[in-house]
Symmetry: C2
Subunit: 356 residues, 2 copies
Amino acid sequence: MSQSIGPQDSSAPGFSLAIDAMGGDNAPDIVLDGLELAAERHPQARFLLVGDEARIGGMLARRPRAAKACMLRHAATVISAEMKPTAALRQGRQSSMRIAIDAVAGGEASGVVSAGNTGALMALAKIVVKTLPEIDRPALAAIAPSARGDVVLLDLGANVQCDARNLVEFAVMGDSFARAVLGLTTPSFGLLNVGSEELKGDDRVRAAAETLRESHIGANFHGFIEGHDIAAGTVDVVVTDGFTGNVALKTAEGTLKLMRDLLRQVFTSSIPARAGYLLARPALDRLREWMDPRRYNGAILLGLNGVVVKSHGGTDALGFAHAVDVAMDMVTHRFNDRIREGLAQIGKPVAAPASP
Amino acid sequence: MSQSIGPQDSSAPGFSLAIDAMGGDNAPDIVLDGLELAAERHPQARFLLVGDEARIGGMLARRPRAAKACMLRHAATVISAEMKPTAALRQGRQSSMRIAIDAVAGGEASGVVSAGNTGALMALAKIVVKTLPEIDRPALAAIAPSARGDVVLLDLGANVQCDARNLVEFAVMGDSFARAVLGLTTPSFGLLNVGSEELKGDDRVRAAAETLRESHIGANFHGFIEGHDIAAGTVDVVVTDGFTGNVALKTAEGTLKLMRDLLRQVFTSSIPARAGYLLARPALDRLREWMDPRRYNGAILLGLNGVVVKSHGGTDALGFAHAVDVAMDMVTHRFNDRIREGLAQIGKPVAAPASP
């Protein structure tokens, strides 16, 4: 999926992505190393790299592919991990994150990737890049592994309180996202609930289900799903409110961490167990690789006038490059146009099938 | 924890527990086998066994400990797994589940254990046994393993919509439950939220947190916790609404199942991996035993005028015996008296510490 917006498209911004060079625990090093990897994967991409010019100029020169793909723009300050979103808004105008976001709002870049302060990125993006006119509220999405392939989850915390209309919008955005980034032609989706029967849950999920069943993507709607369906991969897109989605994702991450820790204890508990680990190691390594959190790095703020991807702050170059991949897929596949098309369909009656 | 309510206590019901002999996938066999185990663990317990007399009379005679501990009461019908709660209410008056519940409502037994239809048990128990006058809504609780010992979770789906007062009541019930069943003297507890900072979440969790901080158990209140804190064992009691709790528990279960399936694939993927499994097997078996779902069998409906425990429908005798253990712990430790004492404290000012 490395085709780029070519010069033949005169309406496309000059830069594929603006990159916050200074955000994250190990910035700017891992950002530049990540861009070196990303530039190889997306040879036609052009990046606007925003950060401390004196500090990153020389570093960039030592990464030839990134140097070729990037234009450098100076930013005098950095939004720290601890800064509150309100402070970031008031005091962060000269920060690398803000200048990168400004480039999206000003039409210079199609999207932005930052490993910096999540709350600040979400607040600045919402206020500066602005929400699509068709959308009531943006949602935070991520991709996770399941027994049956990658799964999109949203909302993961952008909205702690949601109504039925929000859930419907999340479903449309999740559908477009799965098409653009997972490359699926008809992604299935489900609404997270406390049971799979139609009468389960509260008015909100039941009303959203009714609207979705009658929508243009109704044929792909699996109906209500339960917590265990996430890891089972019952659907490609899991739709829920930001409170439940945030808790579910972190619960799954915590459970995986507990299992990893316990397995480490198992395999160091005795000499035979250590030997057993060595024998099973190639297969265990494949499992570890499959679940590698770096492969799933990148939380995506959907529903804005531009692509906004948050990389995990503690990731490495490979993880950062994956976050850039996700953003590039969204830019290349004109993700926002798809959302707008999808939302225009919601509420319209489904076309009757042609008579035989 | 096998001390029983002795005959010296004239106000105690004659039976420790009423047991639904006919509920569950493998009833009545596993129920009777489970009671044979439970009767050994709780030698002073007396059970009212409710079911088809002709069918279970002979089976009981072949289980000497259970036969000694049980009195048999006939029930002509069974509430099936598919029956809707409303139908169970109307048509189930002669069922084993209903007659067992009636024994609690009538003061003959302190509690009831059933492996039958969950929705029917919850509805019948709420309507027949009735909610404690101090409680607005009962909650469903369970015990789960974590990195730092067993953790109590509630609500798991009895209430899909909760207000701040409900969350406070759940915290008090969870505290009493952890004291009675986990044997903790000062269990810590936390409110599940999308972040740990005080300003996170919605009005509901913030208002509940404020009340809890100022309550008689405020010193044990850890504040807000996140999804990953469940498996980490950050607190002994995880308090949340029924929608979030249901999704979180099932998400964790689904994640564990995925890991188990993947590990099975790993250890059968090659001859060296099989050999590795055999070498590490004693340690892997200890891990499996530690996480054995039978050890965590039993969902408990808290806040009623009696102890109500739902065993998993597909469990075996060991699992059913564990559900009886939980119910016995609650009966023995006068769980409901503790809840009432706790709720009477909520809203009262905390006693000032004695001056030095």
